[in-house]
């Protein structure tokens, strides 16, 4: 072996790989350019509109009356907003702040950024007659504001007695880690930085091990604890409280011109995505005789993403078991744009992605284990009929640490506030009344799991919460 030998070890990248990657990059560059143009135009519109509203009282009046006519309160209708406009400082008292309609406005604004999936049902390509998802639903937002308001005093009381520099150790992966990160940041602000948070990545098996060893105070998991892990915790003498915090939901999308398909079975998805399909399954008619001889383009998640793990586990039966000749990306926008570009394309994305910003894609109904085709929607997620591509995300709290004010405060804050930010973490919030049940469970301190070491997919959470947990 010498210098020349080492140089000769170089090889050209495989042609198939080079071509696929180039196509992917071109698509991505086009998507970035479109987004930039869109943002530029929106900025111009916002600036122009604001300027117009400021200079013209009649325009202000027109906007106010229009908002009222569609059932939205205008800022001038809120005493809280008026007082800020008068120059007074906003109240720092949580109860008084949240009790006003301002919180509802914030929730509405947040919800508008995650309400895209509604438009799947509202778009011309809609295939679902169910009620749209309730993010933007005024009643749901009011319930969430009420939840915050109801628990604000006890939350503030816990924060008030915190000693300085307490430490909370949190672990998670994928969607749970993203939720913990965003909640951790907001909690730090809320608790006036009295708390030192360490939020660490940990795979599910390793995370449960660390929870059992007492290395994590809280661990977020995408599946319930298994029996060997329960045994491990029992051996270590660690008890845990199991709390659902959100749902993780995947939508399967196709091009809106794919008129031959409105629903799909998990077997059909498996035929498309399993490793054995690589290089063989390239047309729709190879999956189902009734489908056309249309070439198939697959868009999915990167190899190390939790979406890919979940999708392959739910569809193929084993995490990471996927063909590799698909276009993989960490961007839901990219999947959406790619699927919108090719008639024969199909892809999967987190349910809260910006699917509805385009009418070029539609979400497929998934045929569940009962044989019913079900579209992704909040009601279908809550009643566990949209399976297997919907699952609860769970939080396991060290029961001993749960009695400390810092953990009490963090868990209360997370359960009362996280609905506002879960969309940013590609999750779907629980209904407000379910968060109330989860808070009650946490307050009861009942340790153990209600899933008996089995999967939570297809389990209705409200029923599960009513069960007595077993350690």
């Amino acid at each position: 072996m010498n210098d020349q030998f080492l140089h000769r070890l170089r090889e050209p990248p495989p042609l198939r790989f080079a071509t696929t990657l180039k196509a992917k990059l071109d698509l991505r560059a086009a998507a970035v350019a479109t987004r930039k143009r869109f943002l530029y135009l929106m900025s111009l519109l916002v600036i122009g509109g604001t300027a117009l509203a400021f200079v013209s009282p009649s325009v202000r009046q027109l906007v106010a009356s229009t908002l009222e006519s569609v059932g939205l309160d205008t800022p001038s209708a809120h005493p809280g907003v008026r007082s800020r406009a008068d120059g007074s400082a906003p109240s720092t008292n949580t109860a008084s702040r949240v009790a006003s309609p301002i919180e509802m406005e914030v929730l509405e604004l947040r919800s508008k950024s995650v309400e895209r999936p509604n438009a799947i049902a509202a778009s011309p390509n809609a295939i679902d007659s169910r009620q749209p998802i309730g993010y933007s639903d005024r009643a749901a937002n009011a319930q969430r504001a009420a939840l915050i308001s109801k628990h604000a005093q006890s939350l503030d009381a816990d924060i008030a007695i915190l000693s300085s520099d307490v430490h909370i150790r949190v672990g998670g992966a994928g969607a749970t880690l993203a939720i913990f990160k965003v909640v951790g940041e907001e909690f730090g602000i809320h608790a006036k930085q009295k708390i030192r948070m360490s939020t660490r990545f940990s795979g599910v098996e390793d995370g449960f091990r660390k929870l059992c060893r007492g290395e994590f105070d809280i661990f977020g998991a995408s599946r319930p604890i298994l029996k060997p892990e329960m045994k491990d915790c029992a051996v270590q003498g660690t008890k845990f409280i199991e709390l659902p915090i959100a749902y993780e939901v995947l939508a399967v999308i196709v091009n809106s011109n794919a008129t031959w398909v409105n629903e799909i079975t998990t077997d059909e998805l498996k035929k498309m995505w399993e490793p054995a399909a690589q290089g063989k399954v390239a047309r729709w008619d190879q999956i189902n005789d009734a489908w056309p001889k249309q070439s198939l383009q697959l868009f999915g998640a990167f190899a190390n993403s939790s979406s890919l793990d979940y999708f392959t586990d739910a569809i193929v039966g084993k995490p990471k078991a996927t063909r590799s000749d698909y276009i993989g990306t960490d961007s839901a926008n990219y999947v959406r744009n790619g699927v919108g570009r090719y008639t024969g394309a199909i892809g999967y994305v987190s349910y809260t992605s910006d699917i509805a910003l385009t009418t070029q894609v539609k979400a497929l109904k998934i045929v569940n284990s009962a044989g019913q085709p079900v579209s992704p929607s909040e009601s279908a997620i809550v009643d566990a009929s949209y399976t297997p591509l919907s699952r609860p995300l769970l939080m396991y709290v060290n029961a001993e640490r749960a009695t400390t004010p810092e953990i009490r405060a963090y868990v209360k804050f997370l359960l009362t506030h996280c609905a506002k930010w879960i969309g940013e973490a590609n999750g779907v919030p629980l209904p407000a009344d379910m968060y109330e049940s989860v808070l009650a469970k946490f307050a009861s301190g009942k340790a153990g799991t209600v899933f008996d070491g089995k999967s939570a997919i297809g389990v209705q959470l409200d029923e599960a919460l009513a069960r007595d947990p077993a350690q």
């Binding site: 072996m1 010498n2 210098d3 080492l6 140089h7 070890l9 170089r10 090889e11 050209p12 990248p13 495989p14 790989f17 080079a18 990657l21 180039k22 992917k24 990059l25 991505r28 560059a29 970035v32 390793d206 990167f302 190899a303 190390n304 590799s324 993989g328 990306t329 960490d330």
Partner: protein, 175 residues
């Protein structure tokens, strides 16, 4: 375009012409792919990491519209980070795999005999310090000259030359 050449290119020249990203892709892909192949060994892993590197870079490539040299350096920087992250996470799995393999009675020598030269090389470089393994990948995978490597990793050019010489000797002894 070599990293070294790109750096030396007159600024006005770079400013005068629009960047041909297709050409940049064709030039940089083999460099990045081989750097990562020398770092991780397996072809599949190298493809995935190359893909990730380019996707990250392509999102912000406009920033380098007038400075392809900066883009090339930046690209190799991303590839280095991507490889480091991958190796860090792979190391956790490696111990598990090693535990499983040991029960099968397969020795490291058997394993090495089975795999290709490049994978054999990576098996050997994995026993080196991380920085040393990276040096080999930058020199023979990315085909950077000692001056470019020195600039990237913050050593002197002569130091890089000496280190590489010793490393090749060490690898030769174990080959």
């Amino acid at each position: 375009m070599d990293l070294e050449e790109a750096t030396a290119q007159p600024q006005e020249n770079a400013l005068a012409q629009p960047v041909d990203w297709n050409a940049v892709y064709s030039e940089q892909l083999p460099r990045i792919y081989n750097f990562l192949r020398f770092r991780v060994g397996r072809r599949g892993d190298a493809e995935e990491l190359t893909s990730r590197t380019f996707e990250k870079a392509w999102n912000a490539r406009d920033r380098y519209r007038r400075d392809v040299a900066g883009f090339s350096t930046w690209l190799i920087g991303i590839a280095r980070n991507v490889a480091t992250d991958h190796l860090r996470s792979a190391r956790n799995h490696l111990s598990l795999d090693a535990a499983i393999n040991s029960s099968d009675g397969i020795t490291a020598e058997d394993e090495v005999a089975r795999i290709s030269d490049i994978e054999r090389l990576v098996t050997l470089t994995s026993t080196l310090e991380d920085r040393e393994a990276e040096l080999i990948a930058l020199k023979y995978g990315a085909e950077l000259n000692n001056r470019a490597i020195a600039r990237l990793i913050g050593l002197s050019e002569s130091n890089v030359g000496t280190l590489l010489h010793r490393l090749v000797e060490k690898l030769r002894a174990s080959w």
